[in-house]
């Protein structure tokens, strides 16, 4: 009754304040829906990756395209934050930390995939990679959307990739590509679980006006 009227008035008033362009009530209300959309995106990407990885590994040739290929992880600098995590640590992540980890990982992965795109051999491969990168960018933006709608600050942008030396020979370069795809696949599996957890904790109808965060 009356309380809803007051609420909508407040919402309209706040949304029209020019000093707070980021505050958007409809985003707040839809935090649950954006999490669902992000979850759906990770599933879609995981599915797309299966075909893309198959094609790319075939392009790299044996042994990379062999199903039992199980190389040791070389002691090179990790380019992308790994999805691997201790179980209790993963469970205990705050929503902010969970989202930030996903955001950072996919931002980096997107960078490296784009670099891959530039060198890939066949036109078909470049086309597939390009399409995948667009979808992946969509995922990064979706995660950013969820974070801002929940009032979390976005992590600082990824440092320029050439911190690691370019692989010295052709084989090592291919190994890097192999691990990049592996890491991407694992992150997509992990994200499905991350967003499942977030779905449960942020019910769709929750509205939280984070006035403090907006410097009120």
């Amino acid at each position: 009754g009356d309380s809803w009227g007051i609420f909508t008035f407040l919402c309209a008033a706040l949304c029209n304040l020019p000093a707070l362009p980021a505050l958007n009530c409809t985003e707040e209300l839809g935090a649950g829906q954006s999490i669902q959309k992000t979850y759906d995106l990770t599933r879609y990407l995981e599915h797309q990756l299966r075909t893309l990885a198959g094609t790319y590994l075939n392009y790299l040739g044996p042994p990379f395209n062999e199903p039992d290929f199980n190389p040791p992880r070389l002691a090179r600098v990790e380019r992308v934050p790994s999805a691997t995590v201790d179980l209790d640590l993963w469970r205990g992540l705050t929503d902010n930390a969970r989202l930030a980890a996903n955001y950072r990982a996919y931002s980096r992965l997107l960078c490296y995939l784009r670099a891959l795109d530039g060198q890939a051999g066949t036109a078909e491969l470049r086309h597939r990679l390009g399409h995948f990168c667009s979808s992946l960018q969509g995922l990064v933006l979706s995660i950013a959307g969820v974070m801002s709608s929940l009032g979390y600050p976005l992590p600082a942008g990824p440092p320029a990739p050439p911190g690691t030396p370019v692989a010295s020979n052709d084989f090592l370069k291919k190994m890097d590509d192999f691990w990049l795809l592996k890491e991407l696949q694992t992150w997509l599996w992990r994200s499905a679980k991350d967003f499942n957890r977030l779905k449960k904790k942020v019910p769709p109808a929750v509205v939280t006006l984070r006035l403090e965060a907006r410097g009120f």
Binding site: D68, N70, R73, W189
Partner: protein
Amino acid sequence: DSHIQYERVGADVTMKCGSMDWDAAVTWTANGTDIDESHLNGSYLILKKVDLTQSGQYSCYEGSSWHLKYQTYLRVGTPPKEPVLMCRSNNYPKGFYCSWHLPTPTYIPNSFNISVIHGTREMVCEKDVFPKNRCHIRYLQLFSTVKYKVTLTVTNALGKNSTTVTFDEFAIVKPDPPESVVAKPVPNNPRRLEVSWQNPSSWPDPESFPLKFFLRYRPLILDQWQHVELSDGTSHTITDAYAGKEYIIQVAAKDNDIGTWSDWSVAVHATPWTEEPKHLTTEAQVTETTSASTSSFMPPPTTKICDKGAVVGSGAVAVCWTAGLVLAAYGVLFI
């Protein structure tokens, strides 16, 4: 001085009578029964192309004094064939288990050794007390990019063999089937059946790792299953059941995102609700339900009196008898 001796099926076995000379006079027995001299070469016992039936206790006695000079237990068997190894995670994300067996028996004792390597780390797979031939491992880390490599070696007195499986953490996830599947008719709804079930108890964290389900159902008289996939909840109402037909229903589970479907649950049977006849006719129609194939799906005639859940044959008659009495009494009222 007693030994155990292992020999391969089909091998030729020569047994010496301990330290006795070749030309000594001895008698051999197998499980207490004297062995014919034709099998002897001097004091040596020769068994050609041994088979499994020749396993047993062999004893050698000095000719005249009947002193026991040597005794051995012969076990005939085979070296192990390549074992069958399977690993599965039915309790993700806690860990996984591996179980193994030999494709053919060896007839002699075997010992198993299992090694699990994850990247550079060797992990310990703890052997289960029951069932045997099974061990389990707890995950130390989740969402690993590195594969697990499990090697099983089986060894016995006649040889050894091994097998290796390599897999990703996600690939082996397969829950146990759903539990406590219950199917009930819905009152006043002749085409509905209400099915409910529970998450398998071995799945430790359905909150964070939700399961989705696959339901299949068919009337007993048909071979074709109908399927429903459910991404949420542990119940479902079937709304297109054929009236009056007994159904068989099963449910399977899968992690929402990774791994494979469980085996089918235990089957439950249920028949949709049917209406009690409103008008009793003067003719008591005792129709027996048949479990043989019927070609039509028409609901049984409403004058049928007997309980449809009744067992075929004489049981149906017994149930109908009471109903028949009631009918007769009712009929009398109208005379």
